[in-house]
């Protein structure tokens, strides 16, 4: 009996070593890049500690700042586009706004726990660099710290500004459009449809939805950004139900890509009468 037990224990020892080796390989396969824990310290350490002097910009100063310069703003989270790991570091993309204007925070380093903590209304101080990508002004390579305070913006009606040079002053803000008419988009077969999966219809369920609306003589392209509002959201479902010629009101964030390209978060039919 004792011999059996000893043999068994020896086997267990051997198998345990093998098991440890395999686990090492599996872990590596699952995490091809830097660990999240490693990045946490970096992302949570604000570039402006409590004792340092902080020069917080007004929105006007931010607009006047040149691209690639350092910026510091205090703003409030309004919505989140998503969190993902980039080269092993957690990053989140946020639509933020204060009483003066809005700031799009692109791939700001944060842990998943921090991302979850940054709910709508949370006040943050952001240090980063001003950047512009295809017309979208954003803050990149940013750090943040959470401050006391809460603000959730109400949608500002910018319907009258569509097609004017004034519109860009409201870039990234939470906005509303009233009395839009759904226009036809052409699918790959040349048929008129109310919306497309991806800009040319090359996508499928779960991808971004693109639809066109007219206001007066002008037609604009609106997007349901799938990271912001996925297939299970009301707005995604509502857009899929649209018909060409429908009258709608819409709300969303005034995003830019080679021109105005709002990220729509709500669509409601206009009840005539």
């Amino acid at each position: 009996m004792k011999r059996i037990v000893i043999a068994l224990l020896a086997l267990v020892m051997v198998f345990s070593c093998v098991a440890c080796t395999n686990n090492q390989t599996t872990d590596e396969a699952e995490k091809p890049s830097a660990s999240v824990e490693g990045s946490t310290e970096e992302s949570t350490a604000p570039s402006t500690s409590g004792t340092e002097e902080v020069t917080v910009m007004t929105y006007e100063q931010f607009v006047a700042a040149a691209i690639d310069t350092k910026v510091c703003v205090e703003t409030y989270v309004q919505a989140k586009q998503g969190w993902w790991e980039k080269e092993g570091q957690g990053v989140g993309t946020f639509y933020t706004q204060n009483e003066e204007g809005a700031y799009f925070l692109y791939e700001m380093p944060c842990t998943k726990a921090e991302y979850d903590q940054l709910t709508a209304g949370t006040k943050i101080r952001v240090n980063g660099y001003k950047a512009e990508w295809s017309g979208e002004v954003e803050i990149v390579d940013a750090t943040f710290e959470i401050l006391e305070g809460n603000f959730v913006a109400t949608a500002k009606d910018v319907t009258a500004l569509l097609g004017t040079d004034e519109l860009i002053k409201s870039q990234n803000q939470f906005v509303a459009f009233k009395g839009l008419t759904v226009a036809a988009s052409k699918n790959a077969d040349g048929e008129d449809v109310a919306f497309l999966y991806k800009w040319d219809g090359s996508g499928q369920e779960g991808d971004d939805l693109y639809f066109k609306v007219t206001v007066g003589e002008n037609t604009y392209s609106f997007t349901v950004e799938s990271y912001l509002c996925g297939a299970d959201t009301d707005v995604y479902k509502a857009v899929k139900e649209l018909k060409v010629g429908d009258k709608i009101d819409a709300e969303g964030f005034l995003y830019w890509y080679e021109g105005v390209n709002p990220h729509i978060t709500a669509v409601t039919p206009v009840v005539e009468g």
């Binding site: 037990v5 068994l8 224990l9 390989t25 396969a29 080679e258």
Partner: protein, 534 residues
């Protein structure tokens, strides 16, 4: 006697206790088995296979995948193929990695060989294809195939060679492309230059510097606009990799030794530094798609994939910019700039296809049949025509249909769009000058690191920050964990043991000591008894 029984029970309990951690270490990990090719494909059984595919946000490509699936299902009615579309190789890679531990990978997946090397760290995850290639019934050109697939000899040798990882084949090539420089000829000539027969880096940087001159109103003289970025590179990963190759400088060894942090790399970064600081050079990550700037007359040299050719030029069939912003100009497609024009080197890229292992060998065989179907002339020629891709089979390349397609170049601005056709021909003419980088677990990270070096230098210069190459090397190496890449000989620093392993080994040591103590104690007792009785 009773005491002996108690001891036996105690020993058994200890054994069970020590076995428990071993069993728990297996929890959650689903083990794959070796794939054995069935004698016969079971047509009485239904299979549903998943195909994760990549398209270039191009509806024609989506349609080709859908048609290929429908045609394949008509040939094999017991197989259903479920398509999941991606527009980004990186997203496919992340999703596959996430699904490996739970054995929920797709059956067939479009991917890069760099990524497959990482997938292969999972045991029996990716099916080795050597024996499948050679199978007389279901292999390449096999007798029992219900379609006219290519034989091994009909694959372009260079392209199939790129799918060999560690001595075996783990993928089939699907499409191939390279990079091209799309040039606004009008603006080059307006600046007083004539395009050379073969493009050099010096020429591009010289013309780019000349294009930065502004008038009194702050407009760029060359285009009369407020915006001008003369030189934009889409993939800085490729930019660094190709420059290093052209310089015959270190990048990595075949078995994964990192060589990129060298003096030539510093020289190349130095070459990029000032143009980046002057905004004469930029990147996709910093500014946006080169094609958008090119088509607005705001860029002179746009380097992008030949698979992006339909977005380039005044008459491009695909465009993201408003009609009112389009600039009318002559577009020239040239090979990427070289250091030695007599010995051109350019990257070979494009999607490959791998097959994932499953418990049911019939399911794997169905996946393999579908993978081969993607190499038929119908799929190859149709997909290659959507962009500046070339088919990966000689069978397709040499077919009458494909040759007629090439001959009609420039006859319209859609299927035969001249810029796309020029890009395609560029690769067909330069296939022998293409190269790929070594593939190993971690090569995907090294590739990203190569581009990050350029991005870092460009960003720092634009922000007026100090550029210290040693510091950048250190940061990039840490970011991509290049110091932790496993070498091909399997030897590496494993680091500290996990806590669970330490606990397990500690427990075993205690148990062994206890057993040892017990044995000695028993021996002593027997010895004493002997002494007393004698």
């Amino acid at each position: 006697m009773k005491r002996m029984n108690a001891l036996r029970i105690f020993a058994l309990l200890l054994s069970v206790l020590t076995l428990l951690p071993l069993l728990s270490s297996c929890h959650g990990a689903k083990k794959s088995h070796d794939f054995d090719l069935p004698e016969q494909f079971d047509e009485s059984k239904s299979y549903e296979i998943t195909f994760w595919a990549k398209n270039d946000t191009n509806v024609t490509q989506t349609r080709i995948y859908e048609k290929a699936i429908a045609d394949f299902e008509a040939l094999y009615p017991n197989v259903k193929v479920k398509l999941k579309l991606y527009t980004d190789y990186g997203k496919i890679y992340n999703d596959v990695i996430t699904n490996i531990p739970t054995a929920t990978t797709p059956n067939v997946c479009i991917t890069y060989p760099d990524h497959i090397a990482t997938y292969m760290t999972g045991e029996n995850t990716v099916v080795p294809l050597d024996s499948l290639f050679a199978d007389p019934k279901y292999g390449l050109g096999g007798s029992d195939l219900r379609f006219d697939g290519p034989t091994f000899e009909e694959l372009v040798p260079k392209f199939i060679g790129e799918c060999k990882i560690g001595g075996g084949y783990y993928a089939l090539p699907y499409m191939r492309s390279t990079e091209a420089c799309y040039i606004n000829v009008d603006l080059v000539e307006k600046l007083g230059y004539t395009l050379p027969e073969k493009l050099t880096w010096d020429f591009i940087f010289e013309v780019s510097a000349a294009a930065m001159e502004k008038d009194a109103a702050g407009n760029f003289k060359v285009n009369g606009q407020k915006v001008m970025i003369p030189f934009i590179y889409k993939s800085t990963d490729n930019m660094m990799i190709q420059m290093l190759k052209q310089k015959d400088a270190g990048y990595s060894t075949a078995d994964g030794q990192i060589l990129i942090f060298n003096d030539t790399t510093k020289e190349l970064l130095e070459m990029v530094k000032n143009p980046a600081g002057a905004r004469a050079f930029s990147t996709f990550k910093i500014s946006s798609y080169p094609g958008n700037f090119l088509n607005k007359g705001q860029c002179i040299f746009a380097i992008d994939s030949t698979a992006g050719a339909t977005w380039m030029g005044s008459d491009a069939p695909l465009s993201d910019i408003h009609e009112s912003e389009k600039y009318d100009f002559e577009t020239k497609v040239m090979t990427i700039p070289q250091f030695d024009v007599d010995n051109p080197k350019m990257i070979s890229q494009g999607p490959s296809v791998c097959v994932f292992n499953k418990e049911d060998s019939g399911e794997v065989l169905a996946s393999w049949l579908f993978t081969q179907y993607l190499l038929t002339n119908e799929v190859q020629i149709a997909y290659a025509q959507t962009e500046g891709y070339v088919p990966v089979t000689l069978k397709a390349q040499q077919s009458e249909e494909y040759q007629s397609y090439l001959a009609a170049a420039g006859s319209d601005n859609d299927l035969h769009y001249s810029v796309k056709m020029d890009a395609t021909k560029l690769l067909l003419d330069n296939t022998a000058n293409t190269f790929v980088t070594p593939v190993f677990n971690g090569s995907a990270s090294l590739r990203s690191a190569a581009g990050q070096l350029i991005e870092d230098v460009a960003k720092r210069m634009r922000r007026g920050e100090k550029v210290d190459y040693e510091e950048i090397f250190k940061e990039v190496s840490a970011l991509y964990r290049l110091d932790q890449i496993e070498k091909g000989d399997g030897k590496r620093e494993l680091g500290a043991l996990p806590d669970g392993s330490k606990w397990l080994i500690g427990t075993l040591i205690v148990i062994w000591l206890a057993i040892g103590g017990y044995v000695i104690f028993e021996k002593c007792k027997k010895f004493k008894k002997k002494d007393l009785t004698s």
